[in-house]
Symmetry: C2
Subunit: 410 residues, 2 copies
Amino acid sequence: MARINDHFLKLKAGYLFPEIGRRVNAFCEENPDAKVIRLGIGDVTEPLPPAITEAMHKAIDEMADRSTFRGYGPEQGYDFLRTAIADNDYQARGVNVKADEIFISDGSKCDTGNIIDIFGQDNKVAVTDPVYPVYVDTNVMAGRTGEASSSGQYSGLVYLPVTAENDFTPELPSESVDLIYLCYPNNPTGTVATKETLKKWVDYAREKEAIILFDAAYEAYIRNPDIPHSIYEIPGARDVAIEFRSFSKNAGFTGTRCAFTVVPKDLKGRAADGELVDIHPLWNRRHSTKFNGVPYVIQRGAEAAYSPAGKAQINELVRFYLENASLLRKGLEAVGIDVYGGVDAPYVWLKTPRGLTSWEFFDRLLQQAHLVGTPGSGFGASGEGYFRLSAFNSRENVEEAVKRFQKVVS
Amino acid sequence: MARINDHFLKLKAGYLFPEIGRRVNAFCEENPDAKVIRLGIGDVTEPLPPAITEAMHKAIDEMADRSTFRGYGPEQGYDFLRTAIADNDYQARGVNVKADEIFISDGSKCDTGNIIDIFGQDNKVAVTDPVYPVYVDTNVMAGRTGEASSSGQYSGLVYLPVTAENDFTPELPSESVDLIYLCYPNNPTGTVATKETLKKWVDYAREKEAIILFDAAYEAYIRNPDIPHSIYEIPGARDVAIEFRSFSKNAGFTGTRCAFTVVPKDLKGRAADGELVDIHPLWNRRHSTKFNGVPYVIQRGAEAAYSPAGKAQINELVRFYLENASLLRKGLEAVGIDVYGGVDAPYVWLKTPRGLTSWEFFDRLLQQAHLVGTPGSGFGASGEGYFRLSAFNSRENVEEAVKRFQKVVS
């Protein structure tokens, strides 16, 4: 008799974005003429940069010719891309990450979910609250939690609140934890971590032999020169951290799919018998057994992100979205809203006015301003009373959204 | 203290293809002038068909234009591709599979590995022997086995021998099993399953409430009109089977990455409390939580495989590889080798001559004929004394390989 994985039954049915979709669709059916502006999901809106599409066209021509056709590539990614990443994202910033420590993949969502395959069931897992839901849900599926409480918190996980009260900087946990998810620039709060904050976590991980799963998918949005782009800028981090990066939010690859994960060769975990075991070969084995590489055409596109033209075009894209974020910030502040994030990140995190719950504010904004955002409570109990707006949109829509927002709130 | 998944330590270090690579590289270093012909790994050699590359070029142009740009797509795949598959691969053959039962993915290797996430730890798993190693290794990683014996068999798995003695048709297991991996046309043996064989398994699964994981990645190679292309041609299979298909071996997508998995809405498993649970929403949740969809450009390429031009071009590709397989078969039979498969499949499976072990024959073929094949024992204990040759190569190389093979064996 085939038995299902019962842990799946613990997952809360109303996943955030489907529920948003349901409410927006219902509204649109009742109000077919409403021009709804969506600042909810963090999806890019601008086309792929020309340097990238040119490289992809060229790669397709190679695939159409027997003499240049590519079949199975290395599961870890082609050397041309791994080297471009190591050189540009790390070595050029003085950070020690080598090409063979980089695993090309089809998404940071996939990697942050799949990485837990290589860790034992008995690790104590810490997440921030609010948090990107994938970190939690994949641990629920894997059986590392109990049931969810009414506020949506799963027993067995350690939640680290990040709110205005602690300046969105999580405290070290009071109980020992083994795996720690950190995401900076942060989704959903749009806040960043200073060197001091990251050093505190690296020191903690070194002391406890914990491992930090560092999601840096929004790294390209950091403009403040004092904010680290990589956790490996912190001394000792190579011994305790895995870093996830993506081409989704810089090069516009949300529908094109390419990302990478850095697993330093220095990183170790403990086997059940207490022996130290290298993590790099474990992930290599997992990655090459359950994944077959990113399409050649896509890898050539990603490589072009590091050409001089590609870099300039991506910089322009990021600048454009950051200007949107700035317009949102300023527009909201002008009507007395408490706003966080949105400086070195494409997300603006705001305190709902007049003590409304996140979903109450969602409904009001949708009904009265035809604006869609994301309720903070959907990211965790400590997100209640907050609300996320995404800067991924046209300038025209952002400007219009600010006007409508101001009208509702004033 | 971060703890690794100790089950990974049970995996045998010498995975098949790396070991082949090691021996071939050593030979090539010692014999730099040898013209080695590789009939080992099952990787296509011919370029992508023009209908597909045209569609991909067009899709890239869409991605370069703001008005037609695509960000995140549905994790399950775009409707245009799911509908094309349902219509052409199933409905047109009178098989009841609907578009919303099809999940687009980046590979059958990935899906056959990932599918076990949704099943409980306590399922008894059956595999054929020889077998595609991913089915076994992913179950080892997930902790459903004990240690491996010296022959490479893991305790806890049920191995179903397929050899010349049983006409490469596995017997039903004597003990009850819950999950059964079947692959037809088969990798590595190149043999196919009749309706009667599949009916036997479907009936077994219905009786035992087992689930069949049916890997049909080589379906396009079936030319015998009596051989089923889908397990859903067998009455009752929708209640007990998941089917995996791929664009790798028909459309040449090994480096382009697109596949799909069919999870019928009729399929159910049991929760720990004995309740029947639908499998489709479980896989949907897994797929949308840990995967983010196949690139839009690639999905447009896959869709073009179903255009009239695409179908004709793919048919020609498959015909070409099958002709290679036929040349291999005939050439080997002419010198008295026992040959199996290679009629409705791109793999030829042969009995090693003079009682040589699979690896002895591998070394002899490499040293004396500069030919690379795959030792049958690498696919399992019952593959000992067998050897796999792949038909994926140029005509010239296949003809030359046959000549060299005949010289060594005669």
